[in-house]
């Protein structure tokens, strides 16, 4: 059976190759997409990203990806945002000024504040995934993206800003830094987001990527 082609958007925000390699390892066929027209060729898409929100969004828009992405969304095919890519799915971010996001999931991106001086930013390291503590988030951890992943499994985070979804039903999993809950996995219909790097999270991360290839 031919491996499915998975689009990985190249908008100049780095780290494509790790994502591509992980997709390959999991049995997919990654297609690095620099031309927005090529989004029409794929039925499954990853939006990676590291770095600052403003720079990321500006590059994305400047390369003309917005109309093509909107068309992809109308086809209701799976989309996975990773790290900065996940943050860009939201409505806005306050990183280095206020920036508008892609507004695919309502909510804002804010600086992590644990109220603890000893907590270093950026937060770098392996942290365990947990349910959302919100009563509204009845779908918490109950998503095909996390099939086979258990509460307490750790994944690799590196970030200074975190997403605050408007609707807690969009929060699928969290982690916590210094007792402060941090959004780790989001979902809205076919749109998924991981704040951590599944391509850098060992076997657990590869499981998540494999799940994305099958949702």
């Amino acid at each position: 059976m031919r491996a499915e082609t998975i689009g990985v958007i190249d908008y100049g925000a780095g780290n494509l190759f790790s994502v591509g390699r992980a997709i390959e390892y999991c049995g997919g066929s990654p297609l690095i997409i620099s031309d927005p027209d090529d989004l029409a060729k794929v039925d499954r898409l990853v939006l990676p990203g590291v770095g600052a929100f403003g720079a990321g969004i500006n590059h994305f828009l400047k390369k003309g990806f917005l109309p093509a992405l909107q068309e992809f969304i109308t086809r209701e095919r799976p989309l996975l945002g990773i790290c900065l890519g996940m943050q860009m799915l939201f409505s806005s971010s306050e990183e280095f000024g206020t920036h508008e996001g892609l507004n695919l999931i309502p909510g804002s991106v804010k600086k992590i504040d644990c109220g603890n001086q000893e907590f270093k930013i950026p937060c770098i390291g392996w942290y365990p995934l947990n349910r959302s503590l919100d009563a509204e988030a009845h779908q918490s951890f109950n998503t095909p993206l996390l099939k086979g992943v258990q509460i307490g499994d750790a994944v690799y985070f590196v970030h200074s800003y975190a997403a605050n979804p408007t609707n807690s039903s969009n929060i699928v999993a969290t982690t916590s830094y210094s007792s402060r809950s941090i959004t780790a996995v989001v979902q809205r219909d076919n749109i998924y987001g991981c704040q951590f790097h599944p391509e850098k999270s060992g076997e657990i991360g590869l499981r998540i990527i494999k799940n994305f290839l099958e949702v």
Binding site: V50, K120, I121, P128, K200
Partner: protein
Amino acid sequence: MSKRLIARLDIKGPNLIKGIHLEGLRVIGDPAEHALKYYHEGIDELIYLDTVASLYGRNSLNDVIRRTASEVFIPITVGGGIRTVENAEELLRCGADKVAVNTAAVNRPTLLVELAEKFGSQSIVLSVEAKRVSAGRWMVYTEGGREPSGIDVIDWCIQSQERGVGEILLTSIDQEGTRRGFDVDLIKAVTSAVNIPVIASGGMGSLDHLDDLFLNGNADAVAMADILHYKRKTLVEIRDYTIGKGLPVRRIRSQ
């Protein structure tokens, strides 16, 4: 803050090597094979340091990185002889997630700004080789720890944080390879002075050396070489020990 267990692999040409204090270098074996083994045993991250670091013959290093990145899905840092933004870009393209710089940054500190702006702070690690000068004072050494720079370690770390480095890999030249424990005063002095994560390297002999390092020195991560390459302890033993001490290290299911 979670504490990370990192494997440090020093590379010379195609070989993984390790020095033993006062005895010289030994060839341990194939770097990518060892990296893969540590990955499967549950290491949190890998650091490759190219000890030859000449302008030529970097093909074996690039090959090692490519091989590792195709089968090891945890963060990989590469250092040794990075002189320019182009050198760093090449390594990142081969599969490194972060680059570590020492000598070139000391010679031209603006390089750190350029690297951070191009690749982001999270991709830039400052590698510091520190040698004790007097009580509470250490000097930065370049060229793999051979050349005194005249620069104070604490000042250098603070300035480098301002220039945008995301982490510091701090190696004690005095303790490296001795198995007598870390220079905890050094670690503590740096962790107190900066707000970015500090990875401690150099001197790990027994598991209890980690107590002082994390509880007193406040290191965010430990880079281990000797204890792993010479198979004196397994990663499972190390991880179990740190969990037993109540340290916030990653827990791995069914090990």
